[in-house]
């Protein structure tokens, strides 16, 4: 859940600096090969999470959310290319998830929205509404926890009907609910005059 921790020095850093740092570390994570580099990057990210005082519960929740996906990818990598790449993938995905958490946990959405609107300012000359661009990006970031909740509810509903192993029973209602929620949110924003 990307609820800003609102504590610590990192919250006061400029959003631009944090986004650039996030980008630099993400590119480094993807570009550097080998398990030792992946271990160092996970360690750096975990250290950053600790020094920026990201709440432990939030950290655990993020790790829990990514672990299933990361393990599935790692299993495939193990099958295709061996244990080295598998461990590297697992660690890299964990690093990327933690980096995303670091940004959202130390940046109030309002600050993020202001920054995106400012950065999209030059696009005004091309007929693009910066306010709308900022809103869309902020909404996309905010929608992640709600999407995870919908996925869990859909999975539980499938389980309760004895259909846990059916991709159709999981994916079809999940996609329908995501689209319905997006539609409802769009209507609610429109009703509040946001984006008009």
């Amino acid at each position: 859940m990307s609820v800003p921790a609102r504590a610590g020095w990192a919250t006061r850093l400029p959003v631009g600096a944090k986004v650039l740092a996030l980008l630099a570390l993400s590119i480094t994570t993807v570009a550097l090969r080998g398990v030792p580099a992946a271990v160092i990057l996970v360690a750096i990210t975990l250290t950053l999470a600790l020094v920026t005082r990201v709440p432990g519960r939030m950290l655990l929740r993020t790790l829990r959310g990514i672990v299933l996906f990361a393990v599935a990818v790692a299993a495939l990598q193990w099958w295709w290319t061996g244990p080295g790449r598998a461990i590297e993938s697992l660690l890299d995905l964990t690093t990327l998830a933690l980096l995303g958490l670091l940004l959202t946990a130390t940046t109030p959405v309002g600050d993020m929205l202001e920054a995106f609107v400012r950065w999209a300012g030059p696009l005004r000359h091309a007929g693009v509404d910066p306010e709308r661009v900022g809103l869309v990006i902020s909404m996309a970031i905010q929608s992640i926890p709600a999407t995870i909740t919908l996925a869990r509810e859909t999975r539980d509903a499938a389980r309760s009907r004895g259909l846990a192993g059916s991709p159709r029973a999981l994916l079809t209602p999940f996609v329908i609910r995501i689209v319905a929620r997006a539609h409802e949110t769009g209507a609610a924003l429109q009703a509040r005059g946001i984006g008009d």
Partner: protein, 234 residues
């Protein structure tokens, strides 16, 4: 936020407004009426067209034929202008509350009207105070009770200072305590209120009640008479 004025109203006129689905099915038969009362209730069975009728008023649904006017302004032509005057509160606040904390959500509604961030935050905090959510300003919206979340959704709507508030079954998902909390807040507003509800006790407090059945106005009159007619058909 400006000081509340007493009994702010708008005149809503439906002029043979009809809504059809894309495949031509009639969802709302042509309706002509004028709504000027301070508290207007809309009741009727599920799927009768209540929400469609309410959504017509602020342009969330467009009339297939006919017109909808709010104080003479055509909703189809000037939807944005009408939505500035007509606030809409949904049944499920989860779709309406989009920011992570209470104060940020109210601030979102104020982005257009107050450009300065400090002033915007101060205004948002004042609004939250008014709704009894002042101490929850920086709290995650996910930890609010159902009633508090609905109040926050309402605060986000009222931040734009509409003259008319439409509330679409705002108490349906709430327990008794939260229902009372939200109902007292709604009926305490100086704004004109159009309330869609299945709660017949609530609707009895309205000045005028429309009973919608099968996409038509089956009754239009006093609350007691509307409720009696509705109960007779169930």
């Amino acid at each position: 936020m400006a000081e509340p004025r007493s009994e702010r109203r708008a005149e809503v006129v439906l002029d043979a407004a009809e809504v059809r689905s894309p495949d031509g099915r009639v969802i709302l038969h042509p309706i002509s009426l004028s709504l000027t009362e301070h508290r207007i209730g809309i009741i009727g069975p599920n799927g009768s067209g209540k929400s469609t009728l309410a959504r017509l008023v602020n342009g969330l649904v467009e009339a297939s034929s006919g017109r909808v006017l709010v104080d003479g302004v055509d909703v189809a032509r000037h939807g944005a202008a009408v939505r500035r005057r007509v606030g809409f509160c949904f049944t499920d606040p989860a779709a309406q509350v989009v920011m992570p904390t209470c104060v940020e959500d109210v601030e979102l509604s104020l982005r257009k009207s107050i450009k300065d961030r400090v002033r915007r935050r101060e205004a948002a905090l004042r609004i939250l105070e008014r709704f009894g959510l002042g101490e929850r300003a920086d709290v995650s919206v996910h930890v609010l009770s159902g009633g508090q979340r609905q109040l926050l959704a309402l605060a986000g709507v009222l931040a734009t200072e509409p003259d008319l508030v439409i509330a679409d079954e705002p108490t349906t998902l709430l327990d008794l305590r939260n229902t009372r909390l939200v109902a007292e807040t709604l009926f305490g507003l100086d704004q004109q209120l159009i309330l869609l509800t299945h709660d017949l006790d609530l609707v009895r407090r309205c000045d005028r009640v429309l009973l919608i059945e099968g996409g038509q106005v089956a009754f239009d009159g006093s609350a007691e008479a509307a409720v009696a007619q509705y109960e007779a058909t169930v």
